[in-house]
Symmetry: C2
Amino acid sequence: MTTDDGQMTRQMKALRVEKNQIAVRDIQLPERGQEALVRVLLSGICNTDIEITRGYADFKGTIGHEFVGIVEDAPDGKLVGQRVVGEINAGCGECELCRVGDPRHCPKRTVLGIVGRDGAHAEFLRLPLMNLVPVPERMADEHAVFAEPLAAACGIVDRTPVTKDKNVAVIGDGKLGLLCAQAMALTGASVLLIGKHPEKLRIAQRRGIETATSKNATRRKREFDVVVEASGSASAFNTAVGLLRPRGVMVLKSTFQGTTEINAATIVVDEISIIGSRCGRLAPALDLLRKGAIDVDSLISEEYPLRDGLLAMERAAKKGILKVFLRP
Amino acid sequence: MTTDDGQMTRQMKALRVEKNQIAVRDIQLPERGQEALVRVLLSGICNTDIEITRGYADFKGTIGHEFVGIVEDAPDGKLVGQRVVGEINAGCGECELCRVGDPRHCPKRTVLGIVGRDGAHAEFLRLPLMNLVPVPERMADEHAVFAEPLAAACGIVDRTPVTKDKNVAVIGDGKLGLLCAQAMALTGASVLLIGKHPEKLRIAQRRGIETATSKNATRRKREFDVVVEASGSASAFNTAVGLLRPRGVMVLKSTFQGTTEINAATIVVDEISIIGSRCGRLAPALDLLRKGAIDVDSLISEEYPLRDGLLAMERAAKKGILKVFLRP
C-alpha cells in the first residue's frame, strides 16, 4: 500500500491483543534494525497466549512465541534463507546478568509476544540474530515449532536433578504436561502423569508413562520426590503439596493470571522446595525432536490460517484441544 | 495427692491448650514408659506456641518445645541426673524415613508440644532417650534453652548453600529473625536484617549485621541471592519475592496459622526457589552457644513462674517483647 507521503509500506497480518480485545489486524511490517527479520512459516498457540488475553503479563501487541520461520533479512546477511526457531528472551546486552550469559533474566529484557516485543502469530517477526537456532533440514515445520515448549519442559532438569531413582508426578495432561511427562521419562525416572482426559492420558501411556486421574492420584500421597505442576490451575498447587514426600521438590511450570492461596506452614513443616522453571535451551530440544524421542504428532490438534487467528484461539482454549497451529 | 482408690499420684503444673482455651492446670505427672522423664528447669515461649492458641497444628495438650531440664528417670538409668536439651521430633522408629535416620519427617511422628505429645511448659516432660543431648557443664540454663530455636536457624544451611559470596536478607526482627540473621552472618555471607523495631535491629547491629526498615529495604529490589522469611507474616512472602534476584532462593522459616496468597507466575518467570526449613541439629547449636558465637542474652525479655504461664503468653505476644521464659 502507499502512505500519504507516497512511500510504499509493506503490511502484514498479525494476531494482536489491544485494550483487552484480540483481533487479527493489518499492521506495518517490522523493520529489522540491528536484528533479524524472520518470515513465519508456522506458529503454535501456547496457554500463555490465552492467559495474556485474560490480562497476564499486561501485554499489548502481537502475541505468540512458538514459531518456525525463515530468515528474510539480517545484518551482514547472516542466516538469510535459513530455517530457524528462536529463543524468546532478548536481554539488554549490557547488565550484569546479560554479561554473565543469562539474558533470560535480564530485568530489561523483552520477550517475544509476552513482554515489550511483538510476537510470532504474524507474517513476520524480528529477533536478535543470536536468538536464532537453525532447524535440521529434514525436520517438518510441525515438529520444529515444538522446540520452544519442549525446551521449557526439558528445562526442569536445569533447575532440579531428575534421575532414574526418582519418583516423579506431572500434574496436567495438556500440551505442556504431556511434554513435561515425556521429558521427565527420558531421564529414566519413574513418571506418573495426572490428568482428567482419558484420550490425552493415552498419549503418555503409548510412551510407557503411567497415568492416573486426579482422583486416583490422591491415593498416592507423600510418594513423590518431584511433582511438576503443569496444569495451570491454582488448585493444583495444594494437590502437588499432598503428593510430595517430605523434602520433596515441586516444580512450577505454568504461568497464569491471578493468585494462588498456599499454606506456608506445610511447606515449612514438610521442608518442601518449590522451584519455578520457565524456559529451556532450544538446541537440545531440536535434537530430541530430530531423534523422534518425543511424540509431538499426537499433540497436534488443529491448524488454521492466520486470518482465522481468533477462531484458532477460541479452539485452543477448548477442553480436549491440544496444540493449535497458525499458518500465515 | 491421694486418688479415690487410695493410691498416691503425683501432680504437676502444665500450660495447656484445651478447646481453644489456654490455662495452667494441675495434671498427672507423665509416666516415663520406654522414654526418659525430664524435670524441666526452664522453658522458652516460641511464636509457634502462640500460633497453636490460634488453632495452628490443631494441637490440644501441654504446649512448649524449647527447654532445658534434668533427666529424672530413664530406662536402664541412662543419663539420669544429666542436664539436657531435646530434639522435639520423635519418629515411629519403624517406617522407611525413621530407618534412614530421618525421624523428623516420619509421618507418624509426635512433636513435643506441637503434635500428639505433651510439651515443655510443665514441671516434667517425656522424650525418647535418643532425643536428648547433654548440655555442657558451665552453660547457663538461660543459654541452653536457646539450643532448639538456634538449631532451627542454623538448619537453613542444610537446605540451601549460604556462603560468603552470597547476599542474604532476613525478614523479621523477632526472636527467630535475630537468630537467623546471626546464624547467616556466621557463614561469612553479607547479611541484611529487615525489621520494624529499632531496638531489636540494634541487637543485630551490635554483631555487625546491616539492618533496614521494611520501607528502606524495598529500595534493594532484586539484589539478594537468599531471603529468609522469619517474620511470620503472610505479606512478607511478596516482599521476599521482590528482594530476590532471578533464580534466588527464599527460605520459609515461620509456621503460622492461615494461608498466604502468592503470584505463582512470578515464581515461574523469575525462576525463584522457595524452600521450607523447620528444625536443625542441637549439638552444633549448643557448640555455638558454648563459644558465645551468638548473642542470645539480648533476646531475653522476661521470665515468669510457670503458674503465671497465661500472663507470660500474653506478654510474649506483645510487640517489642522477645524471648519469655517460664520457670516451673
